[in-house]
């Protein structure tokens, strides 16, 4: 699992590459827990190369969501593979999180 952060003006884009499980979730948690992430207006999560997510990975996003909302930082997922979106959907997380098909829509969200 690789997490690459790409800052740009008021937006931080996180590119996720690989499989997010109970072993690798700590990498993402470390990235989302950085205090300066709350200085951005938006955090976009590029899921194009995210090929797998388990409850441990979902839990990392859930555990930071309130903190982001309190700081008025918008968290938006895009480019999500169907099999990964299916996992969000099964838990009902698609109703709690902003998931859009493309980067253009994520930027506009």
């Amino acid at each position: 699992m690789k997490v690459t952060a790409q800052p740009s003006a008021d937006t931080l884009t996180l590119h996720l590459d690989g499989e997010l499980d109970a072993s690798s979730a700590i990498l993402l948690d470390t990235e989302l827990a950085k205090p300066d992430i709350l200085n951005y207006k938006k955090v976009l999560v590029d899921c194009a190369k995210l090929s797998y997510i388990s409850s441990a990975g979902l839990g990392v996003f859930i555990s930071h969501l309130q903190r982001f909302q309190d700081a008025e930082v918008k968290l938006v997922f895009f480019n999500m593979q169907e099999k990964v979106f299916n996992v969000f959907e099964i838990l009902g997380l698609d109703a709690l999180m902003t998931i859009v098909p493309t980067e253009a829509e994520a930027t506009a969200a």
């Binding site: 109970a22 388990s54 839990g59 996992v87």
Partner: protein, 137 residues
């Protein structure tokens, strides 16, 4: 078709478990979504056994057996540790409350129950066994 795998109780072995399940489903001509659902259910149960039942003690191990017959898949996961680990009865989580509390865990077994048609945990010969099954198209 039936296949087996033995792993030690380290979360670094979760990748090996997922690769094992994928490898043995590749010939079944299932959709990527269905394969991922089975992989995820097995990964969640194995992670629970590794982390919660065995405290990541690498001297302990788990045995997996995966069987595919026409229109049905069965997976048995046996925790070779001697502590019986039967999860409490399953209740759907209140996700809005999880968000409010900043909770990280507590969704794994919900996923397993929603992904598979049958989920059972029981004790056999002083070991904990999890049996998962799913109807296949």
């Amino acid at each position: 078709m039936s296949a087996t795998l033995r792993i030690t109780c380290s979360r670094s072995n979760l990748q090996k478990v997922r690769d094992f399940v994928r490898e043995h489903l590749v010939e079944e001509k299932l959709s990527a979504v269905t394969v991922n659902q089975v992989v995820l259910a097995v990964d969640e149960v194995v992670a629970n056994f590794i982390i919660h039942a065995n405290g990541e003690d690498e001297s302990q191990f788990l045995d997996l057996e995966l069987g595919v017959s026409p229109h049905r898949l069965d997976v048995e996961i046996v925790d070779q540790g001697e502590t019986i680990f039967l999860p409490p009865s399953h209740q759907a989580p209140d996700l809005r409350e999880y968000v409010r509390q900043g909770r990280k865990g507590g969704m794994g077994m919900t996923l397993v129950h929603r992904l598979m048609d049958d989920v059972s945990f029981f004790a056999r010969d002083n070991h904990t066994v999890c049996h998962l099954s799913k109807r296949l198209p």
